[in-house]
Symmetry: C2
Subunit: 282 residues, 2 copies
Amino acid sequence: MSKRKDTKSMNDWNGGALVVIGGHEAKSPDDDRVILSAVVERTRRRDGPLLVITAATQLPDEVGQEYIGVFRDLGLDNVEQLDVRTREDANAEACETRVRAASALFFTGGDQLRITSQIGGTRFYDAMLAAFRDGLTIAGTSAGAAAISDTMVVSGSGEESFTAYGIEMAAGLGLLSGVIIDSHFAERGRIGRLLGCVAENPKNLGIGIDENTAIVVEPDRTLCVLGTGAIYIVDGSDISYTNVSEERAGRAVTIRDVRLHVLAHGDRYSLDDRVRHPHTHS
Amino acid sequence: MSKRKDTKSMNDWNGGALVVIGGHEAKSPDDDRVILSAVVERTRRRDGPLLVITAATQLPDEVGQEYIGVFRDLGLDNVEQLDVRTREDANAEACETRVRAASALFFTGGDQLRITSQIGGTRFYDAMLAAFRDGLTIAGTSAGAAAISDTMVVSGSGEESFTAYGIEMAAGLGLLSGVIIDSHFAERGRIGRLLGCVAENPKNLGIGIDENTAIVVEPDRTLCVLGTGAIYIVDGSDISYTNVSEERAGRAVTIRDVRLHVLAHGDRYSLDDRVRHPHTHS
């Protein structure tokens, strides 16, 4: 029973927010650090520390220290690295205890499969889900952003159009259902692969996030955009035709009648309204 | 009067077809040269030569000889270079005569402003429009594709999202009205800039064309896709909100409710149906 409870859909969570970052968020004091400042602000709403989770990166020491330095520079003293390199680390009681006591988690970039393969199904994971329902803020950048949804993009070309069976996906952390997130979006020319992901199953909304750009998703599943770039919402509700399931592997596919929104800093969007009112231009 | 006739909208032309190519079309006998073969096939429907117009390139000799070699290899002997380097060249009587006698024109890549600044308003231009109405096929690749529409993209970043006033446009050759064409589309991550162009004036349909991909536009303004990539049709008819005119220069903009189609080899689309029946999913 407890397992079932821990893995139920996040649709009904009423707790923490998500800060989902497209990568390369501003870190220098010379730049407007609106995104990492939002992580700091969310962390301060509770008592525990911000834990920088370096599971994704092959350089956990360097990346961990860099983020701790930036967050301290932003005035947050209560920040620590949680260095998870193996499933054994993620199943350690001390790890579970630290996650339960945290105010926020920040997943760095690297490889999203490292995050899910090391953390999925561990005591860390269960503690994270429980704390998230209870108000834990979870942030992630780049690979740490991609890992947040139910199903995540693992690989697939940027800078070319989607070809049949041209993308690899895997199960993500399941923190945001009904959404597929792609990062470094304009910079790596990823519209083609996100369109393909959505066409493969239009129940999912595709969200592409540029570098130095983020979405803050509130528990009511409304989001607000932060940063200098744009986010792209790919809504496949109205797709009238696609041959993604029929076209031969490696061939460009057809996708008709995608609804696309480009949103910038300060814009808001309701993830559920598109489901409840697919023809409302929210 | 004659001037007015020569510059009237091409909406009512009933003559030649356009072959609009996204750049880097296959030229080697080892590859499927479906695009350049289509140019050859169209050329053969009339008696005159195919003229390779090298106005866009700074290397007219090399580029001209390359295309002549490829077209001959495809079995077309009646192919010549028309080497236009100045407005004086484009106003020469011999140039006008050659254009009037041609079966097809092929504009190479390079810089689209070289095409329009050298040819616009010359005897070449007037002869081309008249011959086009009479059945001349006009093909263009890369810059030669961008130059075809009424208004053309001159510069604007790829691989980043559209920012207010972030694009430079100029008057194109006016061979295809109501459309803005962008080439090297997925390869150079140009969805952002094409969305911006369309949001600036949604009367225009944006068409992004991948490399080794083309559209053949018939006189009835239906198009068919050729090649290995995709084309993207950005239809702004339903845009419910944009701040492109209000946002400060350099800031990412908001564009809501764009309709997007991804089309691949063999797909067809009617440019006018979207205007006549904006809510029909054609």
